[in-house]
């Protein structure tokens, strides 16, 4: 039995402790917003946040998130309302076929929330673990930059330098 918090609610999973988190979310809890594109930690479609950090849920056995806080795409916005990031992606054209979108949104959401910068190069690094075959990334980067700028304007500290760096980019190491 594994106990975890999913989107603010405590949930219990009774299956095998090594069941992949992505299967627990999709099949166990019916949260099909999280997608599986490769099952090997390469595409990022399965990205969810664990204690605020983006994690590829196809690589994580559920026992590893025992007692931890998991956030999925279903936690953002409301039924009738989009979160500012979702709205920006929609308007900029950051979602085409949409299969990479939930994972992309979660990675970007973590970036915005933990104070990531609006520099396109930094955003590209943050998103490097999420593959998209449709958009060529430009519209996604534009959308994230826009949301970061809006965030900074709201906080009134547009000049504050960003501290966050990208874990995913370091992990993949596919680019110098």
């Amino acid at each position: 039995m594994t106990r975890l918090t999913v989107n603010g609610r405590v949930r219990v999973f009774r299956g095998h402790p090594f069941t992949r988190l992505v299967d627990v979310l999709r099949e166990g809890f019916g949260l099909t917003g999280t997608k599986e594109g490769c099952g090997e930690g390469e595409c990022g479609a399965c990205t969810v946040l664990v204690d605020g950090q983006p994690v590829m849920s196809c690589l994580v056995p559920v026992c590893q998130v025992e007692g931890r806080r998991v956030e999925t795409i279903e936690s953002l916005g409301g039924l009738e309302r989009l979160d500012p990031l979702q709205k920006a992606l929609l308007e900029e054209g950051g979602a085409q076929c949409g299969i990479c979108t939930p994972g992309m949104v979660m990675t970007a959401h973590a970036w915005v929330r933990r104070g990531g910068s609006s520099r396109p190069a930094a955003i590209r690094e943050a998103l490097a673990g999420n593959l998209c075959r449709c958009t060529g990334y430009q519209h996604i980067v534009d959308a994230v930059a826009r949301v970061v700028r809006e965030r900074d304007r709201r906080r009134g500290d547009a000049k504050r330098p960003s501290r966050a760096t990208s874990r995913t980019a370091r992990r993949t190491g596919r680019h110098r």
């Binding site: 999709r26 949260l31 099909t32 917003g33 999280t34 997608k35 599986e36 594109g37 490769c38 099952g39 090997e40 390469e42 595409c43 479609a45 999925t72 795409i73 279903e74 953002l76 916005g77 989009l82 979702q86 992606l89 929609l90 308007e91 054209g93 979602a95 085409q96 076929c97 949409g98 299969i99 990479c100 979108t101 939930p102 949104v105 396109p120 955003i123 590209r124 690094e125 998103l127 490097a128 673990g129 999420n130 593959l131 998209c132 075959r133 449709c134 958009t135 060529g136 990334y137 430009q138 519209h139 996604i140 980067v141 980019a169 993949t172 596919r174 680019h175 110098r176």
Partner: protein, 745 residues
């Protein structure tokens, strides 16, 4: 299905962003079984026996082989050579032989391990050159799937009289579509015997056609529904018929719904790829650089079965000259069969292969003539009134020169060329820099008389509730069909977009609008939407005198117009303009109704130590007639050029023994956000009189352009002309070391 709210780029977008859109694996599936496929392990052989381990609990499973197919054992497409399940003989590795279904997904894979196939191996043909030699016959009579010849003028005479003749050979590899959603399909039989399949697909009526044949059912008894589809790029044009057939076969035997969803490795190793090709050019020119003859030889590898290969070859051959005018042209194109998994549709459909050769060849020509490749292109590009290799006169909407000049200016081609020449002279810099350009055309719509044969249909319905529904089998696969049709119908009718909905692509509900391929959705099917909307508007105006401006008024009028019917329906069918003529026998005439044009400037650097290529900036201009939604066009162009960058620099499908050795995203690399440079897209509008509101197709063009510009830029940077894709660091290293004469700058 979806309403469009003003200011929303995509009506279906909000659901995608919230994770509410249902892809095939997200569909509720109560009481269903999971299916999986046992595939051949040899490239060619006879099946001696199929053994099921006696100690495995087979009563928990459902299994199916070729013997269970009620109709014809084929995946009906152009030819009927490809079986749904191999029967007696396998012609490529990864060919499906046995199907298994089980209530639990992990058990079904376990079951596959308990089935053993015994083969009598036969000698395979694994390369296109071997296939052409035909020493080992693998497809009667000569291993050739299709040959195409295009002839214009007197090539031999012109070559003999040319001031210079420049020869070159170019090669491109397999390319994987790598949509992020793998192939998947569900199937069940309903109580009245109707076969219902729902899944990830581009062309519902293709799937229906294949199932009708394999299950010996009448059309009305086969219903095909598209689930939200996570990308296709051509890869979901033919293969879904196979997956659907398999799921249906298991469902029929099990008497329960069955779902088959491939994992990444199975999807990459077994499904279709872009055709590898070898292209040879022999080009005659005047001293000034004017083309006098193009002699082009194209060889493509179709893999084990025909799939769509004949048509891919046709498009490849028709684009082989590039967008240039030349009085004497000979194209000899040949598609051979090998014992490798069949290749098929992929965005560009044969054109990226031959255009890579045509465009990069200008670098060779420029070297031979000691003239700038850009100047040479300007001298030869098509313009209005030009005549193509098939004798087609380009009457209108020829933006080739506009797109070239636009990217040259915006990409600062000439300044950068000089600047980088200086940069490269200094050994202190860690990289060489280079700039390259290319310009391409892409025929919009089906080749030749294809559209006449398709005779596509679209309907518009005004419901009693005052809703306008667009009924079409053109699918949304990310490219924006829903948005484009919503906008087109609303604009033509003169109503707000929120009043328009697009019916889901379900053969039980929508007429056959032809396949969602060939950049035809916007131009051809969009044209039908526009015409149907005009007719519906006329019907409404006849009865009311003006277009209702409020919803309440619309509902009132709709009730009156519908009378007793649930909806007022108008249908439009494609009629081929009689002045567009094509002769399939001689390959003469109007190969396409019109062409899109695009040009790219690639600005890159090559690391002097690691030979890694980093693209710094990519500037693209496209002429797609009128852009119905500039933002969607931009998105299509950005996605397409990024796939082309992958083709040029990263994507290396490694084939051994007739099978891909790196079928994972871990080792078959597609561009990440870091591999992709900032993308600059310009839209040049040269409206096309027959397109809806002036639009031509856009989907494929961007895939054609960047690869040759990348190779040209690498040439500019390093002095090395790499004529084979992908341009990997090890290939650059190899080229440096095998070229001792080359000065290390």
């Amino acid at each position: 299905m979806k309403k469009k709210r003003s200011g929303v780029l995509r009506p279906e977008g909000p659901d995608k962003l919230r994770g509410l859109a249902r892809y095939v694996d997200d569909l509720p599936f109560p009481g269903g079984l999971h299916g999986a496929t046992l595939r051949s392990t040899v490239p060619r052989g006879r099946i001696r026996a199929i053994r099921f381990d006696p100690d495995f609990p087979w009563d928990e499973c459902v299994t199916a082989t070729a013997a269970d197919i009620p109709g014809q054992n084929c995946v009906a497409l152009i030819e009927e050579d490809q079986p749904l399940l191999a029967d007696g003989e396998v012609r490529h590795a990864m060919e499906p032989i046995v199907l298994v279904a089980h209530a639990e997904r992990h058990r079904v894979y376990e079951a596959l391990g308990h089935i053993h196939v015994e083969y009598e191996p036969l000698e395979p043909v694994l390369s296109m050159e071997d296939a052409l030699e035909a020493k080992v016959p693998v497809r009667a009579p000569d291993n050739v799937i299709k040959r195409i010849s295009i002839d214009k003028g007197d090539v031999d005479g012109a070559l003999a009289g040319a001031d210079v003749v420049v020869e070159g050979e170019y090669r491109v590899p397999h390319q994987e579509q790598a949509y992020i959603e793998n192939q998947g399909m569900t199937a069940r039989f309903e109580e009245d015997g109707t076969l219902l399949v729902e899944g990830s697909l581009q062309c519902p009526y293709y799937v229906q056609k294949a199932l009708v044949r394999a299950f010996a059912l009448p059309k009305e008894k086969v219903r095909v529904v598209q689930a939200t589809t996570g990308g296709g790029f051509g890869g979901k044009e033919e293969y879904p018929s196979m997956v659907a057939g398999h799921a249906a076969l298991l469902a029929r035997k099990a008497g329960r719904p069955v779902k088959i969803v491939y994992d990444r490795t199975e999807d990459m190793v077994a499904t279709t790829k872009r055709h590898p090709a070898r292209v040879r050019h022999r080009t005659g020119l005047t001293r000034e650089g004017k083309l006098v003859a193009q002699d082009i030889d194209v060889l493509m590898d179709g893999g084990a079965y025909a799939t769509l290969s004949p048509v891919v070859l046709s498009r490849g051959a028709l684009h082989a000259t590039g967008p240039y005018e030349c009085p004497n042209v000979r194209v000899r194109a040949c598609m051979v069969a090998t014992n490798t998994p069949p290749n098929g549709a992929f965005r560009g459909f044969g054109a990226p292969q031959t255009l890579f050769a045509a465009e990069l060849h200008w670098e060779r020509i420029a070297g031979a003539l000691k003239k700038d490749a850009l100047r040479l292109r300007r001298l030869n590009l098509v313009r209005e009134g030009s005549e193509t290799a098939t004798g087609q006169v380009l009457h209108e909407s020829v933006g080739a020169r506009d797109v070239l000049e636009a990217v040259v200016r915006r990409g600062r081609y000439s300044e950068k060329k000089r600047e980088y020449a200086r940069w490269n002279r200094s050994r202190r810099h860690p990289s060489w820099r280079g700039i390259g350009v290319s310009v391409c055309h892409h025929g919009a719509g089906f080749t030749g008389s294809g559209e006449a044969f398709l005779a596509s249909r679209v309907a518009l319905a005004l419901t009693r509730k005052g809703e306008i529904r667009v009924l079409t089998s053109s699918t949304e696969i990310g490219q924006g069909t829903i948005a484009a049709f919503t906008g087109l119908a609303a604009r033509t009718l003169g109503v707000p977009e929120e009043w328009v909905t697009i019916e889901r692509a379900d053969t039980g509900l929508v007429p056959d609008s032809g396949p969602t391929v060939a950049s035809r959705t916007c131009m051809i099917v969009g044209g039908l939407v526009e015409r149907a909307a005009q007719r519906l508007r006329e019907r409404i105006l006849e009865s009311t005198g003006r277009m209702p401006s409020t919803r309440a008024e619309m509902v009132r009028e709709a009730r009156r117009l519908c009378g007793r019917e649930p909806a007022l329906r108008v249908e439009e069918q494609y009629t081929h303009p009689p002045e567009i003529r094509w002769d399939e026998e001689t390959y003469r005439g109007d190969a396409y109704p019109v062409y899109g044009y695009g040009a790219t400037v690639v600005d890159l650097e090559v690391d002097r130590t690691t030979f890694e290529v980093r693209v710094r900036r990519l500037t693209t201009a496209v002429d797609v007639g009128r852009a119905l939604s500039p933002r969607l066009v931009e998105g299509q162009v950005m996605g397409g050029v990024t796939q082309a960058l992958g083709y040029a620099l990263l994507e290396n499908a490694d084939y051994h023994d007739g099978v891909m050795q790196n079928p994972q995203l871990t080792n078959y690399l597609i561009p990440t956000a870091l591999d992709t440079p900032p993308l600059d897209v310009m839209i040049v509008q040269r409206p096309y009189s027959r397109g809806p509101l002036g639009a031509k197709g856009v989907g494929e063009l961007p895939m054609d352009i960047p690869a040759p510009a990348v190779a040209a830029a690498v040439h500019d940077a390093t002095g090395l002309l790499l004529t084979e894709l992908p341009i990997l660091p090890e290939r650059i290293l190899e080229a440096f070391s095998s070229d001792p004469a080359h000065r290390q700058r």
